[in-house]
Symmetry: C2
Subunit: 274 residues, 2 copies
């Protein structure tokens, strides 16, 4: 089993983890706390714009790990699917301007579209936007989402599915994002992570709270749930990943509290449980 | 695609679907409504006892589809695991006395037990209680549970896992229970149902509400969610299953309303959407 991390040098926090903070506030707080990486969420980026955000982030000495989140390619109508692809092209532009090496894709789902069709729409869309991603030097990370999100967020629900899509698309610019929250239950997780060797573009951590009180905004701090995070980190590192470790925690409970204290607790939990 | 069901002759309701009713009230209401099958939940059985319950149910002209639920085999300590097996043997006795052909198994999970160990504990326990089930003429149905229940309810989360366990245990008394709620998202559902041919011991229906507001008690009536129930019924029937179709809906919302009107809505939805 992997040992403790030596220091905070790979720590990244998602702006959604400190959701009440504006981008300016998040950047100031992360820099003050010695958090080296930031992953920017679209709703935090929008009021500032990519150009100004890049200046702000790099000026504070932070590095950008990724932009969240593209995707949502599934729709019953052709026009909506075209709009989604164009929106993703604009997000790729924003990622490039931000200096974000990766755009994370929550691939999409729609109760009106049957799942095999939805999966084909996703593969087609990624195939179509890939040349733009390549041109901009931005990698696309397919994130398998927990099956409890298969109704409206993504019909890519296992790392197996994501890996198969990556293999089929066969581009250096298409890989996977592995979030422990979505995949920890998977009986084939170890072999699937092995199959992701050298195509893991992002690694997200948090924990699964028992009982979980909300399907979206009740994620837990690392160490306060049932996920064997260190084991998964070991597998991910054995598969060649040595990039930033991104803390992504949606939590109504934590968002209601002081965010600087929250960042301190994240740092402590990161050293102890990741 | 399968057509509408011709009549209510295969309809079964779980007592947990009309949770506020006592067993006596449920039996009276189902019989009055022309529902031919009942699946009895342990907490409804307990105040009555299996002997009296059998008399009550058969006296009203109802047939028992199953008893819910055995399992919960996973525990850190050996004594707790022995206790769980003994409890399951008593449930097998109760099922036999009730005339229930099937005991449904929610196999168990415990945050303190790592998942590979937990899965082995489950396989071992079913192997050990199988002779008693065979002696009593009660079949054991392994129910794969949605991955959102992998923390405390079951580490058997896909039909693939359940099928593998059934194959390994290789007994006419061990099969699977397929509940659309748990498996609808699975990209391999069709092939796994095919692999369950002649080992499907129970088929449960309800629907997935969008958005789902509670992880346990917010199931929806058939037709008011995103599950393609009829497609799954077709696959299950192609795999040789022609038994009762069991409506299992945990819903705080529906439980707060009049239960006889709820049963009427279930009958209508069953004819229209199953």
């Amino acid at each position: 089993m992997a040992g403790n991390l030596d220091d905070l040098s790979r720590l990244c926090i998602h702006t959604a983890t400190t959701n009440p903070l504006t981008l300016e506030q998040a950047v100031a707080s992360y820099a003050e706390a010695g958090v080296p990486y930031i992953t920017v969420w679209e709703h935090h980026l929008e009021p500032v714009g990519a150009k100004k955000a890049a200046k702000l982030i790099h000026g504070a000495g932070l590095k950008v790990a990724g932009l969240c989140r593209g995707g949502f390619f599934v729709a019953p109508g052709a026009q909506a699917r075209e709009d989604a692809k164009n929106k993703n092209r604009r997000l790729i532009d924003a990622a490039a301007e931000l200096g974000a090496p990766v755009l994370v894709l929550v691939c999409g789902a729609d109760p009106e579209v049957d799942m095999p069709t939805a999966r084909q729409q996703i593969a087609d869309a990624i195939h179509e936007i890939e040349p733009h991603a390549k041109k901009c030097g931005v990698k696309l990370a397919i994130e398998p989402l927990h099956p409890m999100y298969a109704d409206t967020r993504s019909v890519i629900n296992t790392l197996d599915q994501a890996n198969n899509m990556v293999m089929a698309l066969s581009s250096d610019y298409v890989g996977v994002a592995i979030d422990v929250y979505h995949v920890w239950w998977d009986p084939f997780l170890r072999s699937e992570i092995k199959r992701s060797t050298n195509t893991i573009f992002a690694f997200h951590v948090c924990d699964w709270r028992t009982p979980t009180r909300d399907l979206v905004n009740d994620r837990a701090l690392m160490g306060s749930g049932c996920i064997r995070i260190r084991q998964i980190r070991e597998w991910v590192e054995d598969a060649g990943f040595d990039g930033p470790i991104e803390v992504e925690i949606f939590s109504d409970e934590e968002w209601s509290k002081d965010q600087d204290r929250w960042i301190k607790r994240i740092k402590t939990a990161y050293m102890k449980h990741v």
